[in-house]
Amino acid sequence: MVARWGTAGHSPGVPSLCTAGRAVRRIVATLAILLGLAAPAAAQGGVQGEAIRALATTNFDELARAVERLALSGEPNALGIVEALRDGTLLFRQADRAVFWRDAQGRMRDAATGEVAEGVAPAALRPLRVNNRVRRAIDATIGALSLSNPDPRVRLAAAERVFRSRDPDAIPALDAQLARETEARVRHAMEAARAAAVLGSAMADDAKLAAVALIARRGDLEARNLLAGLAGVSEAVAQAAAAGVAAIDRRQAMLRIVQDIYYGISLGSVLLLAAIGLAVTFGTMGVINMAHGEMVMLGAYTTFVVQEAMRRNAPWLLDWSLAFAVPLAFLVSALAGALVERLIIRFLYGRPLETLLATFGLSLVLQQAVRTIFGPNNREVGNPSWMSGAFELGGVLVTWNRLWIIVFSMIVLFGLMLVLRRTAFGLAMRAVTQNRRMAGSMGIRTPWVDCMTFALGSGVAGLAGVALSQIDNVSPNLGQSYIIDSFMVVVFGGVGNLWGTLVAAMTLGIVNKLLEPIAGAVLGKIVVLLLLVLFIQRKPRGLFPLKGRAVES
């Protein structure tokens, strides 16, 4: 019974084979039932119970076909059984091929009746394992069976599933549901699903032409995939499909540029976050802080510690752990920064080479310290549910985690600007930057301002760590991978100018992402670096150099 044609059921390339396969399969199934091939002597129930017992197999091909057969069997429990199979809670007994599912309380229930089965030895049961082919069959079945679900979201997901499975058997159910569907979005998805199913069926050409037109209007990559893979259709349908593909390609080419620019902005916001703290310490104080990346790492590890503490003590708050991590990470990194300034850097002001070496050594010390405390392995920081997944905006796929990081980087940037422009501390800081001696003469405690400035820069780096923990590995090496990029951004943007940092980060991000598809990730980075070197040759002070007498001296 293990024949290759069974596998063609959901491969996109061969719809005609696929329908033939299904027909043959149905005949084989009926024959099998009639001849009692698979039915043990002790079978209870009729043909319907047989459809369930057919699931009791360790052969993935047979299992996939059994799932499809179950969908057509009219078995009242079919949906629940298939969902249990997906969740891995469906088990079978080798001896008589009886199928059970384990409910939430861990009791075994007879799959056919749904009754609690008493006296079932768990040792005699084996879980039913699935592979990708079975998963596709499960998806198609769940889709076909939940088209009339009262929840519109479930109906929408069901329509999407049928769109992918292109199962002509679902057409009657789709027609029935379309007749009474009120929700516009669901209706839309169901029409597309029906069109996809029509293309997979043996219907007449005019129906198929209408379906091609409808799918081409959808305009996304899945529609393109479907139309491009159409085979075994008449000349007219094939031509219409080719035209549809061409139309989708034109639309996608436009979208691609928008999408690449969005990716660039997203990369830019990460660069901005990593660099913005450095813009404060390097930009305004002139300290070459090679341990800046480690301040970022400290922020990321703080996030990890906060999440672990919550997982243990307050799991219901886990989705909001980042809200707690943000202020804590700022404090931890700022404190570390203040300590570093007091203990090391203040002795080295005006000696950039020694500062560079000392902070580089410090970065190694911090890395090894974290490695000793937390171990060399990566730490898992979970994404809260509101930062997972994606949504579509006019055909452009926007992932939530990246979107939130863009928003967060803007909040940090403008928050920092507010501190510098509107607070007394900011005023003192700017005064010290512009003319240290004069500021000292006016009664500003310059050593204290230095310390606080360094703490502020480090604290902002800690905030970056919270964001990076969501998209990168939390490991002792986290900071190292961002330190070069951070210096690039600050130097490119012009030392001591936050707007320059913003523009530089975004420019580098977008150029990088536009180059990446053309030149590849490795070459793209090299090209960006070369462009930057050439630019610095022309404008050594970056995009937005500070002007004034203080700078010249």
């Binding site: 390339g13 993935f60 990559l221 893979g229 994606a390 990730a521 490795v522």
Partner: protein, 444 residues
């Protein structure tokens, strides 16, 4: 623990010098006691073996486990009375993920510590760095990690998979069972992915895959921003043909890669990813729920249900004192390699390099998946190939497996310049790159 670190002689000498101080400078006596244990050691002292794995730096994440597994194997063997009636003593050194340091440490193990064999290395570049040392000083290295092939040395025994024991069967599986027609080969930019992809590219084209249906992309180590590459794969996969990703992405970069796949909604049922460098250990740091169904090809999975594997796992958990630690493929390779070395030493009746090297060929030991692995004349071993799908609990479920074991092929049959080469270290050929067309040893 039952091993000494790096300088086993030191505590000895220190004790001696203290004693000689007490004796009031009895230099003669000191020299006498210093000499006697050296003679004893040569006669019936423990047999030393070297463990050459990075315990610090970027590779520590993978290699520390292999050091631990070696210590466990030695401990178990010593419980059984060691070998040739002598205890085995592991000498652990730390090459710190630094490739030239691997060569220095290897030299130290062989010339100073006088080890009989070394178990170590992970990256190909570290193996290439120690290879001349092992050939010059004529010692034995067991290399436990899957690699790109194109090498066979008299002194190295490769217990990890060659490309034909991992990459080619994985592609075959996707081609026949999933009807994949379009291939995205993604890799980290270094020698293993580049060579593997070159072999796969040649293999796919030989199977009739058009050049348009192959996408090759390399990224730097630790690449974190996968948005545009995943989007590119998605576009590549919308040509109406079943598409799969073959990933030789290494190390850390996998975590953001899989996260991005999940976020952009690429499911294993649409575009499956088959990975050659992602095992149980790597999955331990990821939430695997969105990755269910993505594939990996190895010669061993922790989930393999055999009595010998159950025993190994429980011994491992007992040794490491943590029931949540996972086991993985390179660990199994070390188990096989160590047992092969024990058998060969028994067969040769000595730990001298040359007799053991000769004795190793043909040695057969059980592997952990229920079969027997044999050391072949090309210094590669026979192994079964398993394809597993990621499960929600971070384990793999085997969905396909070769009927028997596969012989490791050192020189790929699909590359120009290497398809005519074979390695055979038995007398009289004794050659690592014999050209069958030219009929002589020495490559092309």
């Amino acid at each position: 623990m039952a091993y000494r670190n790096a300088h086993p002689g030191r505590d000895h000498i220190m004790r001696l010098s203290r004693r000689s101080l007490l004796a009031g400078g009895a230099a003669m006596a000191a020299a006498g006691t210093l000499a006697s244990p050296a003679i004893l050691r040569a006669q019936a002292g423990p047999i030393r073996i070297g463990v050459l794995h990075s315990l610090s730096g970027t590779m520590a994440i993978s290699e520390t486990t292999l050091k631990d597994v070696m210590l466990m194997l030695v401990e178990e063997q010593n419980k059984k009375g060691g070998v040739l009636g002598r205890r085995i003593e592991p000498v652990v050194v730390d090459p710190a993920s630094n490739w030239p340091l691997f060569a220095e440490r290897a030299r130290e193990l062989i010339s100073v510590q006088r080890v009989a064999a070394v178990f170590g290395c992970w990256t190909s570049v570290s193996r290439k760095s120690v290879l001349p040392v092992f050939e010059e000083l004529n010692n034995i290295l067991f290399y436990p990690v899957q690699y790109e092939g194109e090498e066979s040395s008299k002194n190295i025994f490769y217990t990890g998979a060659a490309p034909n024991q991992q990459a080619i069967p994985a592609v075959d599986y996707l081609m026949t069972d999933e009807n994949v027609q379009r291939w995205a080969l993604l890799g980290t930019d270094y020698v293993y992915p580049r060579t593997t992809n070159r072999i796969l590219d040649a293999y796919l084209k030989q199977k009739g895959v058009a050049a348009d249906d192959i996408l090759v992309n390399y990224t730097p180590f630790g690449h974190a921003d996968w948005q545009s590459i995943v989007a590119q794969v998605k576009r590549f996969g919308s040509a109406g043909k079943k598409t799969a990703v073959v990933s030789t992405i290494n190390g850390d970069a996998n975590v953001p890669f899989y996260k991005e796949l999940a976020n952009q909604g690429i499911k294993a049922t649409d575009i499956p990813v088959v990975a050659f460098s992602v095992g149980e250990e790597e999955l331990a740091g990821i939430d695997t729920a969105p990755l269910v169904g993505h594939l990996a090809a190895w010669n061993y999975f922790m989930s393999v249900d055999t009595p010998i594997n159950k025993e190994f796992i429980s011994t491992w958990h007992g040794f490491i004192k943590n029931p949540r630690r996972v086991t993985n493929d390179p660990m199994e390779a070390h188990v096989i390699g160590f047992n092969m070395w024990i058998e060969a030493v028994k067969k040769a009746g000595t730990t001298e390099a040359d007799p053991v090297i000769d004795a190793l060929i043909g040695v057969a030991v059980p592997n952990l998946t229920g079969g027997i692995s044999t050391m072949m004349p090309n210094h590669h071993i026979t192994k079964p190939v398993l394809i597993g799908e990621v499960q929600a609990d971070g384990q793999f479920s085997t969905v396909w497996q070769t009927p028997g074991t596969v012989v490791g092929d050192e020189w790929s049959d699909y590359l120009e310049g290497s398809k005519d080469l074979i390695a055979d270290w038995r007398a009289p050929m004794r050659c690592g790159n014999f050209n069958v067309r030219a009929g002589r040893c020495g490559g092309g």
